[in-house]
Subunit: 557 residues, 2 copies
């Protein structure tokens, strides 16, 4: 069996200029990055807006398990399969972070015969977007601390700086630090910490901005600290939104690549869905919508995180709701949700499958609360038995939801034909009554949190820390009390406890702290023990990585 | 008068593929980054080695002053002028760091009608080399701290970690920090600090490596910490040289751009010359040497720093010494070395010029100690008076050195014809007896330091701190005592005191600390108060930066 990188390196890529021609983009519309990657120029993005809008398919999943679900793989394979059945289809994905690539998860470019290429470039520096975001984020920190050091005209309380530095790596050592030590010439001592780049508000802003002016407006609104009078201090107050936008002027342009089967794929923006809003950029999704009759996109982690945030945070800015939702699961992962250990997943276990199905069922019901048509896609494994497949179909029938097996990892587009046909039919025939689960403009922040906890997570109640309660009060004063909420929660459970698998009930969710992201336009609610800076495992993936003397990557997966 | 960025944006650039054709590189030899920047592929670099080797001109300068010298401007204008007089010439420069770009200095792409383009791209992210170096450096930190946190098999003494994190920004707040706070799940508490990326050993390694295997070998040799038994711990011990080389696999390829007058320019690698070795990459310089009959390159800051390091650190790896050295000065800067304040520089002052000439004279004599032909280039200003020019020529005649006025900033290549002709003649006729100023293999580290201080700086003696003396003893044990030295010293003075202008004498130089850079292959000697992380000024250049809605840069200079 070939590894992902072996399949990738054995694929003869088509020049990106030819992929671009498929969606009516010429050489002049592209900023090339090597022969197989390109950014789309602003003029082309403007021109594309006149094209008709395609149908939007959102791919989400059950809560992830160590068994793996293959959401990106299904997203890519479904796009290839739709093209194979004659539907002009474009894919829109997030770009990977080096943190998980070097850590435990590996890349984020699909797998087997459902990959976006060149996988090694996309998984490493790609076109530099992550680096531009890291740089803008940390330039803001340096300019902010310099302002305080050089006289502090804005009267900033150094103890109340909320803007953190970032690196695009898993580095637990930087979670809690003190900076500015070593005497007066070395800055002002204070507590600080680093987040991973994908959690940066600037990543969220890049993904939500509709053009450079909107980018600059949002950057200007970022709240970085409070004064000694507890008034918010913004990037606009520091007069540096122009410099930050300049640093981001290329990163904001969507990136175009291809799948193994030459399907055009926009890969742009990559916030994590557990600690950020989890969706690729508005500009890339809109470019895709104006390029194909069908667009397949994904949101991060399970439907409780990326799915909910796509619908509640991204859709209002995107101006378009999905035409259908695909929920990805594997029989192996459902058995883990039913209590089976990872080492026992190859043995048939109908009871565990039935118990674990509760997780999938909850996500199906959740997505239907938004009035959207839902299709279940089972990413098939060789260990799945006929009886397990039969049971799963029966369980899906009980939920009155269509289910299709997909084997795109092994067979490429041929393994996704049924799924593709079912989606075309579903979009053509099923009713779509998209609506929000709360009143976006009228519900208060805590009401939104409570609605998500009860309706989506299935929890009983919300417990607020003392700090969170104080924040709710102060946010009213600043006019932030009706902003959308972006939940930061473990991806492994519907609850805020990663050990509670399946569909837990009778649990409370604790809100430890709120983090205002006024430039992005939402308030992050930190639940449980979720961390905005991951750590590396005992044996990081980096230990297996290498490069040969011709520059070919080895050991990326 | 047009600003640099206005001249840049008004220039109609030639596609980089056509610039590449001038030096016999085809489309397949290039990794395009947009239409006007490209990296050179490894196969092409290999093929180019068969071409004959051109003549090498090293451009260096007097100690810089706030009056500005224009070394990059002269380098670029000289390259354009050599092409204009019919000599096939290629330029090799360093790439800028965002620290000074956002801080005080502005970009590093020349000025007026002697610029490399596109200046805004080169000054911002360029082709991502700085970001790749930052990432490799910080991935090493994260993996090292993770090793200590996850059981510390190598028995590393966390108090003796010498590897620092980096950002490509001026951020004094990160000079002295504590990391790993917040309890056992958040790493191991210890003191730490950030350097600016250009001071990273990985930057030095990228600039000195001759291919990917050499890169990996050097990365493997980096000493990151000591064990509790005081034994050095290397990247090879951590088994991560493959992952770090993978992160750098594209950054190591030289970048090709063009001047306003379509001269091919390799811009690659950018260590500062005060806190690092100050020269562009070996791979880029070699590519240039195999592309043109003449190559014009520069080393950072004055001839005491970049010049000395080019000759003592870069030349042995490059395998070629310069055929001539150009020392750049301005009459204004010489007057500052003669005691005139910046505000009074426009007034004629022959006494100050004569006094300040001592700085230029010392650098002329120093470069001749290496057996090299020297030419002085005066970057002409409108305020230079006829009498001042006459005096300067007389002073140069006393030193028996050729001097030419150059006005490439105002006139482009036409302003550098005399300088170009003089260099062609000098290389053809003057003797070149290049030799080192010490015995590279036999002199001990302290002997090398003392030779540089006495012969190049003109100092009396070297004072070692207690720590430095302990290090000299321990380095013998590790076999590092005969490595080359890389002096870290203020750029503003020949001494280690930035206020001592002209040609000071009767001074001692203090060595505060040595920093082993075993992967780069040298030991850094920190003198005086020199810092490896700069700070921002009260009004950083970033405050003037902006971008318009089409993505055009505003306020870069």
């Amino acid at each position: 069996m070939k590894s992902d990188i072996e399949i990738s390196q054995a694929t003869s890529l088509t020049p990106i200029t030819e992929i671009a021609e498929k969606i009516n983009l010429s050489f002049d519309d592209l900023e090339l990055h090597g022969k197989y990657k390109a950014k789309i120029e602003f003029d082309a993005l403007d021109r594309m807006k006149k094209n008709p809008e395609g149908k939007l398919i959102l791919v989400t999943s059950i809560n992830p398990t160590p068994a793996g679900e293959g959401k990106s793989t299904i997203t890519i394979g479904l796009g290839d399969a739709l093209n194979k059945i004659g539907k002009k289809t474009v894919i829109a994905l997030r770009e990977p972070s080096l943190g998980p690539v070097m850590g435990i998860k590996g890349g984020a470019t699909g797998g087997g015969y459902a990959q976006v290429l060149p996988m090694e470039d996309i998984n490493l520096h790609f076109t530099g977007d992550m680096h531009a975001i890291t740089t803008a984020n940390n330039a803001l920190s340096a300019l902010l601390d310099n302002h305080i050091h050089q006289g502090n005209e804005l009267n900033i309380d150094a103890r109340r700086v909320i803007w953190k530095r970032v690196v695009d790596l898993n580095d637990r050592e930087l979670r809690h630090i003190t900076v500015g030590l070593g005497g007066p010439i070395n800055g002002v001592p204070r507590e600080d910490g680093f987040d991973i780049t994908v959690a940066s508000e600037i990543m969220a802003i890049l993904c939500l901005a509709t053009d450079i002016n909107d980018l600059k407006r949002r950057l200007s609104n970022i709240v970085v600290a409070y004064t000694f009078e507890r008034e918010p201090v913004t990037v606009g107050d520091l007069k540096i939104e122009g410099a930050l936008a300049l640093v981001l002027k290329d990163a904001i342009k969507p990136n175009l690549v291809q799948t193994i089967y030459q399907t055009p794929a926009f890969v742009h923006g990559g916030p994590f869905a557990n600690i950020a809003h989890g969706c690729n950029s508005i500009l890339a999704t809109r470019a895709a919508l104006h390029s194909g009759d069908y667009v397949v996109t994904e949101a991060g982690f399970g439907a409780d995180l990326g799915g909910e945030k796509f619908l509640d945070i991204k859709v209002p800015s995107l101006g378009k709701a999905p035409d259908a939702v695909v929920i990805v699961a594997t029989i192996r992962a459902l058995k883990m949700h039913g209590g089976v250990a990872k080492t026992d997943l190859s043995a048939e276990n109908l009871t565990a499958l039935k118990n674990g199905f509760s997780n999938l069922a909850k996500h199906i019901r959740n997505m239907r609360k938004y009035g959207l048509p839902v299709v279940v896609a089972i990413n098939q494994f060789i260990s799945d038995t006929d009886k397990e497949i039969e049971l799963l179909k029966e369980l899906c029938a009980n939920e009155d939801v269509k289910v299709e097996l997909a084997s795109v990892w092994e067979k490429g587009p041929d393994g996704g034909i049924d799924l593709a046909n079912t989606l075309v039919e579903t979009i053509a025939t099923e009713e779509n009554n998209f609506h929000s689960i709360f009143s976006r403009d009228h519900d208060d922040l805590n009401e939104k949190v409570e609605t998500i906890v009860r309706e989506i997570y299935g929890g009983s109640d919300v417990v607020y820390s003392k700090k969170a309660l104080q924040q709710l009060a102060s946010f009213k004063k600043y006019g932030w009390d009706r902003l959308p909420v972006c939940m930061a929660k473990t991806q492994y459970s519907l609850s805020d406890d990663p050990t509670k698998l399946g569909a837990p009930s009778d649990f409370d969710v604790t809100i430890r702290e709120f983090v205002p992201k006024i430039g992005a336009g939402f308030i992050v609610a930190l639940t449980g023990d979720v961390m905005t800076m991951p750590g590396l495992p005992k044996k990081p993936a980096a230990l297996n990585m290498d490069v040969d003397e011709k520059g070919n990557a080895i050991g990326l997966f």
